[in-house]
């Protein structure tokens, strides 16, 4: 296999950021551009026309979700992000994100299963930030899950906290990659060139935003995939703490 020339890779953080963001946005934009060009074909049949328009709509929404999370990450870095922590149902938030990204999973014949919860506890979180965290994690899980696999989402109670679980059955993450996973430009060992892979920025932003909401983001590695765990304070805990 041909080795990549490191001299050609972006070196500074700003160069890496631009390269990483640009690559993140390319995939949905390529699809939007290709589908739009086909819509101009007068011979396209009505059912296909409708399907293409729906896919453009979905890809645009996904693009907006990615841009939103990137901007929130940037605002956090610049100390410009104003969090509005309020009680939020984690179950409803998981269902919302699952609904938004369901077409993305369906195109790889994957299923997103949101497990029912046995409690109705709420967590203290900023709605937009929690959305960005879960959107990034689920988008990442879809990207690295095997076709026809199921991605399981669950809101459960662990050690007196709420734990939101995104469990995938995918290629797994190498043990050697675990440490750098949540770094700003951390990368798994993926096809060359490594800087162009898109996992680093999304997970880094997810971790930073979770911590800003007084939570933590963990990864457990299994033989058959990975589980990302978002730990957040329950809203009644937060109020007791404040007392």
């Amino acid at each position: 296999m041909g080795g990549a020339n490191n001299d050609e890779f972006p070196n500074s953080e700003s160069q890496q950021l631009i390269a990483s963001v640009a690559h993140e946005l390319k995939s949905p934009l390529t699809l939007i551009s290709g589908l739009s060009s086909q819509l101009q074909n007068p011979a396209i049949d009505p059912s296909q026309y409708k399907q293409y328009v729906q896919r453009i709509q979905f890809s645009s929404d996904r693009l907006l979700g990615l841009v939103d999370s990137i901007l929130r990450g940037y605002e956090l870095e610049q100390h410009m992000l104003e969090l509005n922590l309020e009680p939020i149902s984690p179950q409803l938030m998981l269902e919302e994100v699952a609904h938004e990204l369901e077409p993305h999973a369906r195109k790889q014949a994957q299923l997103i299963a949101v497990r029912g919860t046995r409690h109705n506890q709420t967590v203290m979180a900023d709605k937009g930030c929690l959305h960005a965290v879960l959107f990034n994690l689920l988008d990442n899980a879809i990207k690295y899950s095997l076709p026809e696999s199921t991605i399981e989402l669950e809101a459960r109670l662990r050690r007196g906290q709420a734990q939101l679980v995104i469990k995938d059955y995918g290629l797994g993450i190498k043990k050697t990659d675990l440490k750098k996973l949540f770094e700003q430009f951390g990368r798994f060992q993926r096809p060359v060139p490594q800087w162009a892979t898109t996992t680093g920025l999304g997970l880094y932003i997810a971790k930073q935003l979770t911590e800003a909401m007084n939570g933590s983001l963990e990864l457990t590695r299994r033989k058959d995939g990975s589980s990302f765990l978002v730990n957040l304070q329950l809203s009644h805990q937060a109020s007791l703490f404040e007392l």
């Binding site: 990549a4 690559h23 390319k26 699809l31 290709g34 086909q38 195109k107 993926r190 096809p191 060139p193």
Partner: protein, 131 residues
């Protein structure tokens, strides 16, 4: 034009988009594979593939690994390959000789390649291989 094409692309919607456009416009027969392993299986089953269109970012084994494997198959390594990637060619750090060794006749940058542009390139490559 009756051409058999193997499209190796893991994005199901993009694969369907290219497949529909190519088959509708020009009566191409397009076989799709979402992974390098599946692509090799298709090549085993269909010995009359005229052209391969290859995405580079694939699950498990990437495009370079696929090309490397393909080059070791002496009976099928004469199939021309058009790479269709969202990464610039120079980012792979390979020289022209290396691409040529792998049978790559054209490298297209995916975000700026519309289905009709791909079709034009396919026609060009097929007519070149016929001559």
């Amino acid at each position: 034009m009756s051409v058999k094409i193997l499209l190796v692309e893991d994005d199901a919607w993009l694969a369907e988009l290219y497949q529909t456009a190519l088959e509708f416009e020009d009566e191409c027969k397009v076989f799709t594979a979402a992974s390098a392993d599946r692509a090799l299986e298709v090549l085993d089953q269909h010995s009359d593939i005229d052209l391969i269109i290859l995405d580079m970012f694939l699950p498990e084994h990437n495009g370079i690994e696929f090309l490397h494997e393909l080059a070791s198959y002496t009976d099928i390594n004469i199939i021309p390959v058009i790479v269709l990637s969202s990464v610039y060619k120079h980012d792979f750090g390979m020289n022209e000789e290396r691409w040529k060794h792998y049978g790559v006749v054209k490298y297209l940058y995916k975000p700026s390649t519309k289905p009709k542009d791909l079709l034009v390139e396919i026609k060009k490559q097929i007519s070149a291989s016929v001559v």
